[in-house]
Symmetry: D3
Subunit: 266 residues, 6 copies
């Protein structure tokens, strides 16, 4: 059995957690157990992290959640934001647990299906940072561009018709004008739109939450069968456990604001 | 059920096919069916493709094998050589089937486990071409280097003690001198050595045949559950089916030299 | 005397061979002998190789042709397709003979005449692969872009007025909109149009078949006078001759489908 | 008058604050006022941030400090760690105040004095992250390498003789073996060693705390005289002030653990 | 006291020298002395250096001016052209004096204020060379583009309304279409327009003469307080002084065509 | 007939001019006429240009020589220094004449014969600048490294045994340690050593003066037969002829210090 945690790095969004739990129920392998979680009230009122400074504020809580997941023995954990918020920080203290995230996962899928892809995002504000992540992950030469639709994170699930229309318009621009051969939806809250778009545009469209979850399941499963656990050498060195205990801030009670368990089916 | 073909792009190596079939039996998910194949006698006497010119000569046979797999309805196919021989050619005519290969798969795994990895290869001859593949796949900044051990493809399974010793020596050099944090074995015939090395060097060591198979299973399964099939847009456009029929060389009888079926367990 | 082979990597196009023989007659030095050839019937019905899979199918025949040219003692050989099809494969087994091709040759000329050039191609399908070749050859920063005109390889010589008009339109776009300072015609079948375009647009326009032939003559001549033959060290190592003989597929009878000899004039 | 805040992103190190205050007293212009600060007790027991996870934990406190500095009307603020910890996050919410940091500042100085420089750091652990910062800042082609001396952040000021000897050894290696033409000390706690090294090795040696302070003074002064304030356009957009207030975590009482005021001299 | 020379690499433009002297008066620190100079009559009739060949012709005179400045004991010298004409040549023989120039200085400022900037230039002719300088200085990933306005160097100060209008138009294009977050005026003769533009477009706009002067003052001052002088190691090695004397062309009488002294204040 | 000028950018070296004239006699095509020239006395006492500042001082004289060559109707001109001194400046004002130089020419040859080459130079001083040229010409990924032998330009032809021994030692290091597959001699004064080295090391060794001359002959000949003349568009725009006349410094009497004519043989 593979055990995966899907952690949304925002607070108090039980409705939204249900969106991801639903996705997981449809996509997971039978023998995978998934816990869909989000940040606790102590992380403040962040229901989106569109700003670097917002990410910075919730990052300690992400680390605490990841650390808790590692302590509970999960095989892999997803940090569910397309900024791949705090991914490298979390990987440092995840022990033997894999940590992954949507941007890395989506770019891997899109580049396995095409030579060139476009990423459809909410606002121009996001582009510079996400572009840096795409470059750091080695996909610069695959990218046709970023396509902002003028919607914030919390807008995507408001009026589904508007969202669908704007995403389609951006997708068409990417494919027709810039010769994208596949598309990535660049926000986990764009969930639910990729299949219709793929049919309409006749190119693969990657939902990032799904891609991240399936990557976690893949890498988490490999960990079990092949022993492929995170390196702890050189730049991957973790802090000394005793020092971490003494610092007293990595392990906390109640690190999650919500937890939906999607059980394995034997 | 996911159906995977593992195709070795060489001829008449039933003993070697069994090596890969064994690996598959230990690593596959229960509900995956795998066919382990190699090239037919018509492909000549190539029991290794260390040279670009040898790859060139077997490439038409690889395409015929991949095409046959697509026609048989496989979800994904592995071309089992660390040169990722003919990968882009094969992807062009694989229809809705995923095609993947060891170098791409291994780099993905190694970079999910570390920031920097080394690749242990047979001979200096291979390095330039493999380096180009690593760069093309976007992993240039991850690479500590290539480490040749002075063995050819057909030598690795001759004297296991010699092989083990040389691989270890190269691995230690990569980790200690060049600060590699993970290792990749850069030839599918280096199979069987990674677990001992990982324990001895305390870094993850990726076996490329295993990585390629598991990536095929992951992407093949995603194809089913998410509809993520190869793009056929722009540079991914396939030849016209009628033209291909008229050319008369893509579809042949008996495209495989051997076939070991590893069934799904329901 | 310098002896050059110009090999079109397609089948049965005696008319087209004549196009290239004409070009050679007008451009060669007096003391150069040129053989203009194409692939034999055994290579199938490929009269264009717009697809990677088509290139893959004719590649063994290209290698056999190049190998025959080397055995006949030619100084240099051109593989006459702007994809530079199988160039690196052929260079591996060309012994002391130089092998070159149109994309490499054209980029060298265009960058000797300008800081920035555009490449006018047939279809969008070609762009990704040709872009990779331009990048691999080190000309990425010189490139204003690729300009597809919506014609296939076999269309260019059909209706010369249509071809001329479309090439001019694309060339004007490259120069006026993207600040190209020189142009390359990105298909050997675009032969015959560059001089008119150069006059009309007042920038240098490079014909790729001509560029490849003249580069072969230059490098072939240098081989004689300076002893500059292909390296056989490290990645340039050729297979062992005995092993190649044993494999029995590199040297064949009748490797060419046509041969026009343009003699030296003493 | 220019007003600068120098903020060490660690806790309770009044002795160390005095090191930086001393440096400021010797280096500042007469009409510059400097406040040397560090993080408050509420930021925990972090007296070094050698790990990404430690940086992550103190980052919210850095943002609160930077925000306080902006509210107090400082012209510029230094985040005094060679990881340039949280620099981009802090710049987002600094309003009209400049924020800078040691790695960016040191690379600018070193590249104004030489074509190629080496960076002497504490431990191999640091190298990957710092290398990424150097690359992101555009200095990749200037870098001869990183030279770890096997000391942690808190070791540098322990035994000055040992530190001096190790830094010299690393510096000599950079200059003699790797042809560095200038050196950067890659930790603010390496303060006090650069002048002796410069004399002994006859190359410029940059102290990062000094470089960061002088850059802050330069940019802070330019802000006054030329109006060159941070852009708030596109990726530089700050969160809405009302939303920040509602979130309630950016502005706190007592954001600093210590404050040494170095006054302007009129 | 810091002493700075601002050298315009053109001839006989006392009116223009006054423009830069005015700027210096408004921007300099109290205790900085500045000499604003230009080339002597012996340098010919060059009142602009828009061409590489013009730069080449005045370069010996620039070196003579820089050498004279070094001999007079200046702390730093600006070569006042946005091509950063002869910067590396001059740095080689500047002894202990800093040499800097507008493009390097402006890019540093713009990247301290934003993630992405555009450069507004006179003519398309300039773009390729200036782009090379921006790339060589490590700012390639910061650049939104170059924006030519169709004016030559000597046109900018002719009709201020026309200039202002064209610069604004180009600036708006950079910001609105290409998402520039800051702007650089790419010619020292564009002086006087940046403040109005900054207000109108609400992004920072960098005047290059000012940026170069302030960078010289910053680096010249650091030289005094920190001993940060140019490296003379490896590629920074200067010619032997005796050999230079023997060559007899580096040190000349009357190296300047004009000299306005802006004195330090008490 | 093709007419080539070979211009050494130094003064008064008739003996050395003879070295190049000899090379030309052995390498040129029958119907090529070559003038071997150097700078006039008015260019000063520069018998080497190892320093950027020395290059700067002779550059106006190079331009005058190139301009004279263009006016005399030469097809192509070589600037005979491995720094490719003033190449881009000279290309701007060469009218319809081709200008080329040794580094560009040698890299082209070496990369046509191998995948990876090393460059053997005189002193470490040269490396940074030559590396920049190699990168600018697109050969960065081909380069195994630079190998200084501790000799200045004027030393190479002093004691041939010492020179031969040092070049061989450096060449062996490049090939054996760094896997170079071909070598370039990185100074035109290293003339006369490449053939022995090639035999001893069994890799191609490129003499840069020869490579530059043969490239000039190739491009000069193409100019005649194909009309491939320098672009004068965008960044290749030349100054206005009337303005150049008015400036009065481009066209001078007696631009050459020596002239050896190697006639065509009809």
């Amino acid at each position: 059995m593979t055990r995966i945690m899907y952690l949304s790095p925002v607070v108090h969004r039980s409705g939204h957690d249900e969106l991801f739990a639903d996705m997981v129920r449809h996509r997971k392998r039978a023998d995978t157990e998934v816990h869909v979680t989000c940040l606790p009230d102590s992380a403040g009122r962040f229901n989106h992290v569109e700003f670097r400074s917002y990410e910075a504020m919730v990052t300690p809580h992400i680390l605490q959640g990841v650390r808790a997941a590692a302590n509970e023995g999960f095989d892999a954990c997803v940090i569910g934001c397309f900024y791949d918020t705090a991914l490298k920080d979390a990987q440092e203290i995840s022990g033997e647990m894999i940590v992954t995230a949507p941007c890395a996962a989506s770019c891997d899928i899109a580049s396995s299906l095409s030579n060139r892809f476009g990423i459809i995002v909410g606002r121009q504000k996001w582009v510079h940072q996400m572009h840096s992540t795409v470059v750091a992950n080695g996909y610069e030469n695959r990218l046709s561009g970023f396509y902002p639709v003028g919607l914030g994170v919390t807008d995507f699930q408001m009026d589904h018709d508007t969202t669908a229309e704007r995403l389609m318009q951006a997708g068409r621009k990417a494919v027709e004008d810039d010769h994208a051969e596949a598309l990535i939806l660049g926000c986990t809250m764009e969930i639910g739109f990729n299949e219709t778009m793929a049919r309409a545009l006749d190119v693969p469209v990657v939902d990032p939450a799904t891609a991240a979850f399936l990557r976690a399941e893949h890498l988490g499963s490999n960990r079990e069968t092949c022993g492929w656990k995170p390196s702890r050498k050189w730049s991957c060195e973790a802090p000394d456990e005793a020092e971490m205990q003494a610092l007293g801030v990595f392990d906390v009670e109640a690190p999650f604001g919500n937890r939906i368990v999607v059980p394995a089916i034997n």
